[in-house]
């Protein structure tokens, strides 16, 4: 057990500071700087208020600067003991973020701190009850995501509140983004009425994924068999993995519109002129026939169309190469037997979340094409449904969260204004559709989109630009920067934004052990009936 299980472990006293820069706390001589870490929570008891803040920096000071250039003889352990904490002392920088309660009996919830504690106010490590007061207890709506550093208290996210806005999960490769996302998706399934549409590029969410230690961890379908459907783009992959998917997705050529090609421009290496040519083709043959017609033209070697429409030979070839790449995707067929969008919406309207597994198509082109194409149509339909519900004054459809990976491919500044994802991030909140974007290069994402993300969850990032982008617009940015760059490379994340009263560094809860599944399954009694130990056999 950690030492702050014991309530009120005193750290020191406030000596000076400001609201914007944070207050400075002189560490008590009995405390060593090595006992405290950046990112830990402290409570400062003022005369009228109790402040809640985070340690953002730790420094070494001396009462007399001469002591640093001509230090006492600290090779003598006795002298070292004496001067430590007196002549030289540790100083903490603490950012007071909230006032958690006034004098005893005040039941007001946490409020943003608008002042600082007075001189020489006592500073303690935050107790369990302080943390609970700030982040709330696990309940019907709150999902436990992890514990603060060196504490056992559970940090909970209000899932209903979280999904109301688009959110982001960031972090370098291998820092646990996937695990974190899986947990968030479970939280949504468990604690809110949200349905999710997950574009699962690497087949990690629906069925078993593998942890970094190479052991298998359960996917959403295994934990919530009644609430999750697995769609697949790649039957062969399913057969190989012995996975039974609920629906095999086929996309007809007639479903691909010129806007989709615009999105694919960079991944297919198309020139601007080639994209223009696509629009030209669509104008001539119609939005639903252009692709088939273009492929026919290429097959027949007919160059008349190109010359009639002033399309240069190089552009034509560029387009040909791009379209041939698309043709390699087996899920693209001239005519799809069933409409995927309708099927997805059907599942969603029944409250089932859909995980779309890409199987062997882990090509970014396939991902961009499918995610964009489906989302655009779902967006249109959802919008229609919400509009109808609004005008008829009936219940709006449940919140839908669309999860995309490699988000910078969809939300880069060049294309975010044109893609559907940019639009969702900016305005779809009104239509009950939000996004969960997952990315390892947040600096590649449009600033405007970043600024609209409600809650950001970020694992370790060490690129200066990425860190800056993620923290744009957060108060106490420079302090958080220090915290962010010191995160451990595994299982730690900084969470801040709409769903939390203040930024928090958490040790992400465990996922993957038999014990962890006990708490991660469905909570409603109806779902529990499905959840048996023989589940794997049933589906395996």
């Amino acid at each position: 057990m950690t030492e702050n299980e014991k309530a009120n472990v005193r750290l020191g006293t406030v000596i000076y500071g400001s609201l914007t820069q944070g207050v400075h706390v002189k560490l008590d001589p009995a405390r060593s700087v090595e006992d405290v870490t950046v990112g830990r929570y402290v409570a400062i008891q003022g005369e009228k208020k109790r402040f809640f803040g985070m340690i953002t920096d730790i420094s070494l000071e001396a009462v007399d600067p001469r002591a640093m250039v001509m230090p006492p003889d600290i090779s003598d352990p006795f002298i070292a003991k004496v001067v430590c904490g007196t002549t030289t002392y540790g100083k903490l920088s603490v950012l007071p973020m909230l006032t958690i309660s006034g004098i005893a009996g005040d039941t007001e919830g946490p409020q943003p701190a608008k002042t600082v504690p007075p001189h020489f106010a006592g500073v303690e490590l935050a107790s369990q009850s302080d943390v609970e007061m700030v982040f709330g207890k696990e309940d019907k709506q709150r999902f436990y995501v992890g514990t603060p550093l060196d504490m056992e208290t559970r940090i909970c996210l209000d899932m209903e509140e979280l999904v109301k806005r688009s959110n982001g999960v960031f972090g370098k490769s291998g820092t646990g983004k996937t695990f974190l996302t899986r947990l968030l998706l479970i939280g949504m399934l468990q604690k809110s009425r949200t349905t999710s549409l997950i574009f699962d590029m690497h087949n990690e969410y629906g069925w078993e994924g593998t942890s970094e230690k190479d052991h298998k961890v359960k996917g959403l379908k295994q934990l919530f068999p009644g609430k999750v459907a697995v769609f697949s783009l790649d039957e062969k992959y399913d057969q190989r993995r012995k996975v039974k998917s609920d629906f095999v997705v086929k996309i007809g050529y007639d479903e691909i519109e010129p806007e989709d090609m615009q999105m694919l421009r960079s991944v297919l290496n198309l020139t601007d002129l080639a994209v223009q040519a696509v629009y030209e083709l669509a104008r001539h043959f119609g939005d639903d026939k252009w692709l088939q017609s273009a492929l026919d033209l290429f097959d027949s070697g007919d160059k008349e169309f190109a010359s009639n429409h002033d399309i240069a030979e190089s552009t034509w070839k560029n387009l040909l190469r791009g379209l041939r790449m698309l043709q390699r995707f087996k899920f693209l067929v001239p005519h799809a037997p069933e409409n995927t969008v309708t099927t997805i919406l059907e599942y969603i309207s029944h409250g089932k979340s859909v995980v779309l597994q890409f199987g062997g198509y882990d090509d970014i082109a396939a991902y961009v094409l499918v995610a964009n194409l489906l989302t655009r149509r779902i967006y249109d339909r959802y919008r229609e449904m919400v509009d109808i519900a609004t005008s008829a004054d009936t219940k709006k459809p449940d919140q839908l969260v669309i999860t995309i990976e490699e988000a910078h491919r969809f939300l880069s500044p060049e294309i975010s204004s044109q893609t559907i994802f940019g639009k969702i991030a900016r305005e779809m909140r009104k239509y009950n559709v939000t996004m969960l974007v997952i990315d390892q290069r947040p600096s590649g994402i449009d600033e405007e989109v970043m600024s609209q993300l409600g809650t950001k969850i970020t694992c370790l990032l060490d690129n200066e630009k990425d860190v800056d982008t993620v923290l744009t617009g957060v108060s106490g940015k420079s302090e958080l920067k220090a915290v962010l760059s010191k995160l451990e490379s595994k299982q730690q994340a900084l969470i801040f934004g709409h769903a939390l009263p203040m930024p928090v560094v958490v040790k992400v809860r465990e996922y993957g052990s038999a014990d962890s599944y006990k708490e991660l399954g469905p909570t409603s009694s109806g779902e529990k009936a499905h959840k048996t130990d023989g589940l794997d056999d049933l589906w395996g």
């Binding site: 002591a67 006492p72 003889d73 006795f78 004496v82 001067v83 007196t86 002549t87």
Partner: protein, 197 residues
């Protein structure tokens, strides 16, 4: 309780210090030891900061007498009058007083009474007095003694032995000194070096 043995008598007194003459020649208390005497309505505590043995007449210098003697003791045997012509005395820096049971580590309202008896403090008294160390700056700031650092170190060394955890006491005292001497690291360093037995 054993009857306390008086060791000297106050012969010169002021608010901040007093001079006491020993009853026996050459039996002055150790530098930095703690003594107690009486003031008006209170006990006065002090620390010995210097001691001397000299002629009782200021104008009369002591001459060497031991050229023919085999040992130093023989000098006194051969000159029994010396015990009457010489005297030992010591100066004490007042560091606190106790009008009742409580001890106050600041100067008493009035000086020690003249001719009041001086007693060496017992280890229990020293331990009790040093529960708090606020008096240290009275010694540090003292202008009377030429070597206040020596006095502090000697007293703390002695006092530490009356505590169950001497080293812990010394660290606590050291920290107290470090606060007071925060602008004089060299001096702090030199005192700290003398604190260890």
């Amino acid at each position: 309780m054993a009857v306390e043995q008086k060791i000297a008598e106050v012969i010169e007194t002021s608010n901040s210090e007093f001079l006491a003459e020993c009853y026996d020649l050459d039996s002055v208390p150790a530098l930095g030891s703690m003594v107690r005497t009486k003031g008006k309505g209170c006990q006065i505590y002090g620390i010995v900061y210097t001691s001397a043995t000299h002629s009782i007449e200021p104008g009369r210098r002591i001459a060497a007498r031991g050229k023919a003697a085999a040992s130093e003791a023989d000098v006194f045997k051969a000159n029994p009058q010396l015990a009457k012509l010489l005297c030992s005395d010591f100066k004490v820096l007042v560091v606190g007083h106790s009008p009742d049971k409580a001890i106050y580590q600041y100067l008493p309202p009035s000086p020690a009474s003249i001719y009041s008896f001086v007693y060496a403090c017992s280890p229990v008294e020293v331990k009790q007095f040093t529960q708090s160390l606020n008096f240290l700056n009275l010694i540090i700031e003292s202008r009377s003694t030429v070597a206040p650092d020596e006095v502090i170190a000697a007293f703390l060394r002695y006092a530490s032995l009356t505590h169950p955890a001497p080293e812990e006491f010394l660290v606590k005292a050291g920290k107290e000194l470090a606060w007071t001497l925060s602008n004089d690291i060299r001096r702090l360093d030199s005192i700290l070096k003398r604190l260890q037995p």
